[in-house]
Symmetry: C2
Subunit: 334 residues, 2 copies
């Protein structure tokens, strides 16, 4: 199987030593990725975008890889947005003020609307972490009201529902022309059962939390069909091992180095191998109007032993750590 | 507030060094407890009941405390049951064969029915861990079909639904005269949000897993009203700290040493202090027809600093470890 210019439309590369550890792992096999701006402090000025992009380019070395940069959402003036537009793929919004009550959630979004309107005018996509502060299994579903509100209020705004986890979110894709979505690898594979059904598994704990079997089924079905509005976005998030296994662990699953192999297996096993190209790159190119650098990743059905950790400085535990997966990367031409 | 002869109707005391560590913590403030038989190997012969009771009595020393012993469910003959009856309060069934499909679950129960019929004839209560092997949030709800089946097939059998966690189970209490239930401290207090809504909290991970806010509300309402068929059963389960905080942690919350204080706070805050006596002892005495030794536990509203761990050999982390709770035990007269 050959994948052309695979894209990861939702990626955390962090900064400093961790960026040094994980940057290459994505840049090796992916042609480009949407880089999340939630550093400390957040990337919310154009000069910070330039600087962060520079640090990413140093970290990935010679790899052919386009970091699609994002700004962290705040109030931006028209001038700021116009200046930023050529350098970013979109702006990422985490609606901290949204609450269980969806009315209140929309209200919290109100304050953001002048900036969102400017983004609509300029054609800058809005990427959203769509969860309320409600009960953990209901957070995404409750947030769908806010997606409806934004999709109707800003009909020309391109909105990406990031890392969707529910059947209801999949349905919403077909209701509004301007709604798109990313989905992670783990949400195609696991449910809450894998996190807390047997022993507690901190390495599969992520936000949004994995949901019910019928949710996973709907996500997998949409991915396997290469739903034209759905894109792969790993949300791959490296946390040092000690922050995952200690009491009270951080949320995030590290999938960057194994995502393509597992997707090849998943799509092939389900008889949908021909749809993976759209899911992993073509949909995203069309939706965002981007052309990533050419890269051919050849995958073969040959066992691959996933390392227990990646990185020397602050080892990161990947999904399937220490297990054998069925597909391997044979070669990468860039 | 004075509690007379408080009872813990579902308790894990383990064995060996752990029994030595935790036995006294229950025996100090409780007047008696239903002792779970799931040792390795399980307590499933009368001589094992006698031996385990002996080890418990050694471990608790001078404390006035009745260990109400149970047998682990297997096929038992009439002779075995008749011999055991004076020495046990009931038989604990964990239906390992029960599956998602409730039909199959009932079928798996079929094989157990000759023994269950003998228990009904002899008046030996059946205590059940009522979960199927389905999706983690549905396991108890799916099992309710099996409770219905047993309650109607064996109308004179006293059945205790152990550690119920759902609003549906609370409702079932009123549908069948011969159904009773225990509820833990943690299921009156937490939901899945507390386990996995923020950081992952292994110390609040237990089976059955904490459910939705409306489930907790129904359980708390029934407890505060001292529903006549509901009893306190802590399911307090000591796991050494290293088994709770490692990757892939074991299920169980250790509440024995703080349960009475937290219940006093909970019932008082909700204006139901007068109902705690029924919930903590009187209901159980009536339901099981037992008379525990006299013990007066005086509780006062005075801050208590919960230790980070209990025990020296293999420290156990209690619920509220390192936090301050509002009520303390002032004195115990036995």
């Amino acid at each position: 199987m050959i994948l052309n210019s695979p894209l990861d439309m939702h990626l955390h590369l962090r900064d400093g030593e961790m960026l040094g550890q994980v940057g290459k792992l994505s840049a090796e096999s992916f042609s480009g990725a949407v880089i999340m701006p939630n550093l400390v402090p957040p990337v919310d000025r154009l000069d910070m975008v330039h600087d962060y992009r520079g640090r990413i380019e140093s970290a990935i070395g010679d790899h052919v890889f386009d970091p699609f940069m994002t700004l962290f959402f705040r109030e931006y003036s028209m001038e700021e947005l116009e200046a930023a537009k050529p350098h970013i793929i979109g702006i990422k919004l985490y609606p901290a003020g949204a609450t269980t009550n969806s009315e209140a959630g929309v209200k919290a979004i109100d304050a953001a609307e002048p900036t969102i309107r400017r983004m609509e005018e300029l054609g800058i996509p809005l990427l959203i972490h769509g969860e309320t502060h409600g009960f953990v299994m209901d957070r995404e579903k409750e947030f769908l009201e806010i997606y409806r509100h934004l999709a109707t209020t800003f009909p020309k705004l391109r909105i990406t529902m990031e890392h969707i986890t529910t059947a209801d979110a999949v349905k919403l894709l077909d209701e509004y022309e301007n709604l798109f979505a990313t989905v992670t690898l783990q949400h195609l594979l696991i449910t809450l059962d894998d996190v807390a059904g047997g022993m507690l598994n901190p390495h599969l704990f992520c936000k949004p939390i994995a949901k019910r079997p019928e949710d996973r089924a709907a996500l997998l079905d949409a991915a396997l069909k290469a739903h034209p509005k759905l894109m792969f976005g790993s949300d791959s998030a490296p946390h040092p091992r000690h922050k995952k296994e200690c009491c009270g662990c951080a949320a995030g699953v590290f999938t960057a180095p194994i995502a393509l192999q597992v997707l090849a297996d998943l799509f092939t096993k389900n008889g949908c191998a021909e749809n993976l190209q759209a899911f992993i790159s073509d949909n995203a190119q069309r939706i965002y109007g981007v052309t990533p650098p050419a890269k051919k990743v050849k995958l073969v059905q040959r066992p691959f032993d996933v390392p227990a950790t990646y990185g020397d400085v602050d080892p990161v535990v990947p999904m399937y750590a220490g297990e054998t997966i069925a597909w391997s990367i044979e070669s990468i031409d860039a």
